[in-house]
Symmetry: C2
Subunit: 149 residues, 2 copies
C-alpha cells in the first residue's frame, strides 16, 4: 500500500479509515459482497463517475481488499473484474455495523435491510458485542443477501 498521511498510524481505526474512509470505497465493497465484479456493474449500481470508480478500485486492489482478474465474454476483448480477497471478505462486520446503524438512526420508509447469513449453515447471523468464550461465527463465513424489492 502506498504511504499516506494517516492522522494516527498507531490506531487500527485510523489506518482502516485511511484506506476505506470514503463512501465510494465501502459502497464498492458492499457491491462486491452482493456479487458485482465488473466496472460496468459498479458504475450502473452506484452512479459514480468513471474517474472516481477507477481510482477507488485501484486503491482497493492496492490495499488488498479486491483482486483484479481478467475475463473475456464471447466475441469481446479481455476485461478486468474485481473480486473480494479474504481480507476483503473480513470487512463484513464493518458493513453490518454501518447497515445496522443506518437502519436504526437514519430510517427511510422504503428501506431494504441487507441480511447476513452463515454460508456454512444458511442461518441468519447478527453482529453483536459479546464476552470472550461465546459461540461466534467467523466473519469470513458471512455472506450478504439483499432482499428483492
Amino acid at each position: 500500500m502506498s504511504p499516506r498521511a494517516c492522522p494516527d498510524p498507531t490506531c487500527g481505526i485510523a489506518r482502516s479509515l485511511d484506506v476505506l474512509g470514503e463512501r465510494w470505497a465501502l459502497m464498492i465493497v458492499r457491491d462486491a459482497f452482493l456479487g458485482r465484479s465488473r466496472f460496468s456493474e459498479f458504475r450502473a449500481s452506484l452512479g459514480v463517475s468513471p474517474d472516481i470508480l477507477t481510482a477507488r478500485l485501484a486503491t482497493l486492489v492496492d490495499c488488498g481488499v479486491l483482486v483484479r482478474q481478467t475475463y473475456r465474454d464471447p466475441g469481446e476483448r479481455e476485461r478486468d473484474e474485481y473480486v473480494l480477497t479474504d481480507a476483503g471478505r473480513e470487512l463484513a462486520p464493518v458493513l453490518a455495523a454501518l447497515g445496522r446503524w443506518g437502519a436504526d438512526h437514519l430510517p427511510v420508509d422504503s428501506g431494504t435491510r441487507i441480511r447476513y447469513l452463515d454460508s456454512h449453515t444458511g442461518d441468519p447471523v447478527y453482529l453483536t458485542f459479546a464476552t470472550a468464550g461465546g459461540a461466534s461465527i467467523p466473519a469470513s463465513r458471512v455472506t450478504l443477501v439483499r432482499p428483492s424489492a
Copy 2:
C-alpha cells in the same frame, strides 16, 4: 438532517456512509468515545484543519451523533463542546469493526489496540457475528479505552 445525494437511499449502509463516510467524521467519533469533547482537543489529537473540523462537527450535530453543549472555564468566555448522543454511542460497533480490520490487515509495529469494555461489568467485549438468541451486550453499554503508550 439536510438532504444529500445518497447513492442508494434504500440501503442502510449507503445512508450511514452518506453521513459518516469520510475519515474525519469517524475519527472525531472515536475521539469523542475516548473522552475528548472540545474543539481544541479534537484539533490537537487529529491535526485536522479548523475549517474541516468545524464542518464535520456541524454535520455530526446535524445528524444526531453529537450534541453541542456550552461550558465556561474560569475567566474565559462561553464555548461549545461536543458530546456523543445515544445514537452516537451506538457507533461503537462501527469503530470496533474498523479497528479490528485495521489491526489484522494493516498492521504496524507500534500499534495500540483500543479495548472495548462492558461499562456495567468492566469485562472486555468483542464484536462478533452470532446466531440469534446468544448472549449479547448492547452497543450502548460499550466503552472504549485506549491503552497508555
